[in-house]
Amino acid sequence: MRFAPRQLALALAITLAAGTAAAAGKTLIFCSEGSPAGFDPARYTTSTDFDASAETVFNRLSEFEPGSTKVRPGLAEKWSVSADGLTYTFNLRKGVKFHTTAYFKPTRDFNADDAVFTLQRLIDKNLPFNKAAPAEYSYATDMGLDTNIVAVSKLDPYTVQVKLKAVDAAFIQNLAMSFASVQSAEYAEQLLKAGKANMINVEPVGTGPFVFKSYQKDAAIRFEANPGYWRKDEVKLDKLIFAITPDASVRYQKLQKNECQVMAYPRPADLKAMQANPQLAVASQAGFNEGWIAYNVKHKPLDKLEVRQALDMAINKKAIIDAVYQGAGQLATNPMPPTQWSFNKTLKDAPLDVAKAKSLLAKAGVGNGFEITLWAMPVQRPYNPNAKLMAEMIQADWAKIGVKAKIVTYEWGEYIKRSKGGEHDAMTIGWTGDNGDPDNWLGVNLGCEAVGGNNYSQWCDKKFDDLVVKARSLSNQAERTKLYEQAQVVFKEQVPFTPIAHSTVYVPMRKEVTGYKISPFGLTSFYGVGLK
């Protein structure tokens, strides 16, 4: 578009004459850390993507209670499971409306067609919609949904049945995850007819607390409250704006100036000043994550239990928590965080003991020490804010018992690829829980099936695996808890990895913000959040 100077001058003159004021209302601005890759949650895996779509625009059949790993009914009012644990029947909520936007006007309420479309899209590559908008649904694949769901059918307009191939005790939790957000089949049909199926990733339509209004890449995402939201008490704002602010220091300055009211991911170094600021409040919670040192048990001499025990007891975890996590971490003992149900409270770490570690090495026949590689992640993760520093500190600890560790690092994609292939001796890695189920820790990171995948220790212990596989097939939580507790005892005896720490999650906000709850899954959601 071209504008002559005269037109511009005229526009300026009219502007000066008019001088309109901006509308206010109850608007909350959230300083987010980055731009989402898109608005179709099924395609993505990171919280930056989920916060901007799943947590605002959408609902799921089952959902996590705000600030908790407990599941509550979502768009499914209730569900039942068959005796063999293979068939789930969902009774859907009535009277739920999809958002009316400039690009879509729904003609009907949410019903079984939407639930069926949502699940089928994840499992059926030949669905016409998937052919028109090809995409990878990697999270659903990761959680095994694409292979485990064998059929999804509509029994009546408000009842849906899902049949599984194998029992999956965490199935309901999996459906509560962001990637399983419920899409409108009617909207998808409209897009498909218009030949614009991919717009599902650009202009989202859901049933959630906020209606998508606009997105300016790397600048802002705007939402308006959903006036007819079915959980009335969970929408207390008129507008919600994500101010995309990639630098943590700048986010903090904006928060101080009240240019935003909640900010994501503060720098640990800023926390003290934030806590001392009378205008700010800093919410915190033990993170649902864990960083650890994985030992490749297929490599000599790490195949020997005594060697792993010696390396484990030579690590000064307290010093790591102070230096790497800058005090914002909790010492980890088990292969899961203490907030995960089935956490075995009786387990204790071996005390830091250099002399004993040396004697264990001598017993294993490597009393004169040995050389290994210690891989350091090239990226910062919630469970490990500085892997290089952690590796350097462990290198120094191991040197005291005669183990010479050579620190190695690769580009992140390459790091993962090579370590899954088992090229490392020892490595820094970790995990953030997906769905609040113990299997998401023990099965995913230590099960025999995960060797060559996320089991970076390449450790396959029959006793441990039998317990985890059995627990996965049960639906009684008490029974499962017993089995998982036993599995953690086996883990502690065999030391396939050394748990280091769970980082604490901090969310700084203005004092005027009410009702904010930290998601254990590292998401940022504004259910029930208001402004004084």
Partner: protein, 336 residues
């Protein structure tokens, strides 16, 4: 003049082809691929991986991928982003006005203050003022952009409260993008408050982005002015009794401008490189941040297309400078 432009264009074509090869090769040389980066530490099913690579055309030999990229480009198709599935050109066009607006303001700041500083230093040669101005220019040139940006934010935004911290406009204003240039869009929306907000948001990023070019322009102006001021015709002008201001501004500066124009042209490249950092500090939604994000996500089409578009811009600006230079100085135009 026409042959002169043709000669310049003949150099541009191989440069352009070289850039396509470089952009393609560099991004493919970095380890990792878009699917690996997307999955991260999560489980990666080999079949899923294979299917994804096939769908993205990344299972083909590199020379074939390059060929598709080159032929697509010649047909005006730069491909679509692997991550957002949007055409690269349309993403570029959405973000480029922000970078353009910031670069123009930074360049105006750098040129005005750079020329003034250079002229002052040259006319007061050897004095405290000269040393002070040139010392400040050297400091500006050596300043790490990230640090400089944060210092300005802390002083002017947080402590004094004069300017906003970051962004292009206060978020209470929802200005629909028409030209993409916020100053113009706010005027077209007849919203004075929004216009003021856009101006205030431009001040700090323009200073940060313009600091290095300002230092370069100041130093170049000073040395060019010193040379011109020694010329005989300046002495003649002085002897004729012309006012010192007229001698400096009309007779000396005009002739000293020639090398300065070249330097200003060359600063466009520096500015686009500096924009990457400035845009990150000030959350400025331009192409610098877009390219950085695409590299970390291994979004090949965006990196290749983005680099190509930016390089084309720099080539065009340099071509324009060459042509301008030819206009100003006929000796260049006729040189073989």
């Amino acid at each position: 003049m026409f042959t002169f432009i043709l000669r310049r264009l003949a150099v541009v074509i191989p440069t352009f082809l070289g850039i396509t090869v470089l952009a393609f090769a560099l991004i493919h040389l970095i380890p990792g691929d878009p699917v690996l980066v997307m999955v991260g530490e999560r489980k990666l099913d080999p079949e899923f991986y294979k299917a994804a690579m096939t769908r993205l055309g990344l299972d083909q030999p590199l020379y074939l991928q390059y060929w598709h990229y080159l032929t697509g480009m010649l047909h005006g198709n730069l491909g679509e982003s692997i991550v957002t599935h949007e055409p690269v050109l349309s993403e570029f066009l959405k973000l480029f006005p922000a970078t353009l607006e910031l670069s123009i303001c930074a360049m105006i700041f750098a040129t005005v203050f750079g020329l003034a500083a250079g002229v002052i230093a040259a006319t007061r040669r050897g004095t405290v003022l000269d040393h002070g101005v040139m010392g400040a220019a050297l400091t500006g040139y050596s300043m790490p952009i990230f640090w400089w940006g944060l210092i300005l934010i802390i002083v002017f935004s947080v402590n004094l409260g004069w300017t906003p911290v970051s962004g292009r406009i206060d978020l209470e204003f929802d200005i629909a993008p028409r030209t993409g240039l916020m100053l113009i869009d706010t005027l077209l929306a007849h919203d004075l408050d929004a216009f003021k907000s856009a101006v205030m948001h431009l001040i700090l990023p323009s200073i940060v982005l313009g600091t290095i070019p300002l230092a370069v322009i100041a130093r170049m102006t000073r040395s060019a002015m010193l040379e011109v001021l020694r010329e005989d015709y300046i002495r003649t002008a002085r002897a004729k009794g012309l006012s010192p201001v007229r001698i400096v501004l009309v007779h000396a500066l005009r002739n000293a401008l020639m090398p300065v124009v070249t330097v200003i042209g060359l600063q466009v490249g520096t500015m686009l490189a500096g924009a990457v950092l400035t845009e990150t500090i000030f959350s400025w939604p331009g192409i610098g941040k877009w390219l950085i994000d695409s590299i970390s996500r291994r979004d090949y089409p965006v990196v290749q297309g983005g680099i190509l578009l930016v390089a084309t811009l720099i080539i065009l600006v340099n071509l324009l400078v060459d042509v301008l230079y030819g206009v100003i100085n006929p000796r260049i135009r006729h040189a073989r």
